[in-house]
Amino acid sequence: MTPSKIQRYGLLYLLAMAIILLLTLLTARLYLDQQKQQLQHNLEWEMRQELQLLGALLGDFLKKHDYQSATNLLQIWKRTRPDIVETRLLASNGFELGGFRRATTSSQALRMSTDIQYAPDASAWLEMVRDLPKTNLVSNQNTAAIGLTVGAVNLAFAVFLWSVYRHKRNSAELKRRSDTIDRLNDHLRESETRLTQTTTYAATLADSIPSTLLAVDPEGRIRAWNSQAETLTHVKLRDAKGHRFDQMMPLLGGQGDKVRRTLEQGSVERSSRLVTVAGGTIRYSDVAVHPLPEEAGGGAIIRVDDISQRVRFEQMMVQSEKMNVLAALAAGVAQEINSPLSGVLQNCQNISRRLDPTLQVNRKTADAAGLDLERMSDYLVRRNIPEFLDLVRDSAERAGRIIADMLAFSRRSSGGFEKVSAAELVETAVRLASSDYEMKKKYNFAQVEITRDFAGNLPLLHCDRTRIEQVLLNLIRNAVQAMALAETPAPRLLVLRLRQDDGDLLIEVTDNGPGMNEETSQRVFDPFYTTKNSEADTGLGLSVAHFVVVEQHGGDLTIDTRPGHGCRFTVQLPLKPDRELAIGGFTTSA
């Protein structure tokens, strides 16, 4: 049954019940009135009897003129009949011999009287008034009770109908709302899923970014940070939340003003190349502070980018540029020296030829000059002049070779990969090291015994010749320097070993110098790290070598050393051409 039908039938029922109630009340009222009349009739009869009885008793007293007893009887009557509101005994002359009067409790009363003839010429009048409140009240109460009962029953049923109607209506409404709620729940679940996905995506995105990200509230307290921040500070987000950002990340200690400006003004603040030292390592960072809009809760995002590697690259580039400039300068100087050197060499040869007594032209010219060429030759030999000339020539030739090597080195630094012999690379590096003035004079390179242990049938190496020669030169130079500075007793050994290990070529440079402790060996490839006190030592040699081998060739450069047991550097280079890496940062100009 639909709510509307229930409503309609309910109204009809109420109308019917109202009519029935009225009829019931009317009937009840008529019945009760009849009962009331009957009751009143009974009361009248009863009162008449009492009046007669009382009158008889009073008459007996009055006959004896015992008026006092008569009034006493009336007082007893008063006490025993609370429903009698008035009783009066009046003499025939109107004098009230006795009686009483009470306040009536009802508007209806029954009044009766009787004549008491107590003497032939004497009579008295007895009046009595009786209250009749209860009948009316009872009548009204009964009527009201019946009406209320019927009304209550009808009302209860009407309420029941109404409740059924409401229930039906509410059920329909409930179903409609339930459907709405279901839809809302589905939408909510979808939104939650999307939110979770978005949150996860954002978290993953934040964690995937190499930058260190912090989200702070308008008071500078940490709300969130990514995994890079956790790695940097070794503090979990749950422990960092709520703390000041500069307390949890000391490297941002000086950024309070910038963060405050961002929070207050909504501007983006940047700090470039912040220098911090952590564990003895210099670290460079860029810091950017971005404001967060109010809808995102306000505050700011602090991004910290570790630019240490870039700075090192830049420094390496600068150093490399310097090297390039020096190389170019050296090339230019070499070119300039080459000419006079050629003249020296040429003229030495000419002198040697002009002093040769075996040449006919020389004998003829000497005869013409009246010179005994053989006796002059003997004198020159006795004075070691030809040896001097040979030395000059050798030196010039050697200088020429050095210059040629330098020119060749500078011309060949084009950055391109080519197939080269590893042995050839090693020999070139040895030669460059031996011709190094500092190597010879300062570090006694000549006293170093170089041992070559080259495996046979080694395949050609696909590499940048110049850069690998530079790496090997650095390794050889370091070994010699180390042995010289440590005053390693003779023999000072330098072992150069070549061998193949699967797809890689291994070049080992081993010395019997002082070796390194663990700390030094772990930092030896750090840029600008050096154990020497020379101003000329930039500390970049091994870091550049590491970069060239690892970054540019995809290989590896390792060290094996112990204090007092020398040092072995192993350059591991891949033999396969597909491991050639893009070269950046190191270019040379001829």
């Binding site: 003129h65 015992d66 008026y67 006092q68 003499a91 002359n93 004098f95 004497a122």
Partner: protein
Amino acid sequence: MINAEPGFPGHIEKLLKFPKILVILHLFFPFNRKSTAMMRILAALIVLLTSAAAGPATAADAEGRMILAVHPYLPFQEIRKRFDPLADYLSTILGRNVDVRVGRSYKEHLARIGGDKADIAFVDPAAYVELSGRFGRKPLLARLEVEGRPVFKGVIATREDSPITDLQDLMGRRFAFGDVFSTMAHLLPRYLLQQAGVRLEDFAYYRFLGSSTNVALGVLAGDFDAGGMKEEVFREFQHQGLRPLTWTPELSEHLFVAGNHVPAEQVEKLRSALLRLHHSTKGKRIIQSIKQGASALVPVRNSDYDNLRAIFHKLARDSDP
């Protein structure tokens, strides 16, 4: 209505009544042969004791109880209510119990007093005159003083609207007396009528209505044209329409007398106690409970009642057969 208390010791008498009968029966018809001797002795003792307690009341029994007799002018309960406080007071003074006894009738009351069956008695003036005349003088203790005066009077009253103006107008009328023994409601009004030359047969009819109240009501109701009543009753109903025709002579108030058997020392003690009663607040209350308006108990003499004696003498001499 007159209620009278059973004779002393009524309640004890009731209690002992049945056992005494049993004992007497047992004396002659023993129930248990074995204890006959003991039972006989016990029975004799009981009979002796109860016999001593039975019989007419005797004044001042062996335990020192005294009797205050009051004539039955009011219902018994009312009289007890009025006189018990005095009895308690006298008990305290005398150190003996004083019990109130109300005679079953006026005649019995007089007989009790005259026979010295009561230690103290409260009597009205007429009773005292009769008492003293019949039984001789009794020790006088004190008389009432009401509203400062030890005398009272009666009145012959009629209705306010009555045409009767004097006693002679009462001839052929209807007259009401109170109690036949009442001084103020009968004897004195009758005396006055007699003095006025009105005899009882001159009335259309006359009735004795038993109390001054009935007389007042009867007159007011129109059943009687006039009636004799106590002054206090007249005052009570005067506002309802009574008018005095004539007043009686003043008589000395009610009094307390003692029995001749009461030792003089005790008589003096009683007299002193009564006369100083009004000195205390409690005493005043005791006096006021005896009669409304009573203010004290004052000394009394036999001669205070001489005028009443003279009236009675005249009445007796001139009374109708």
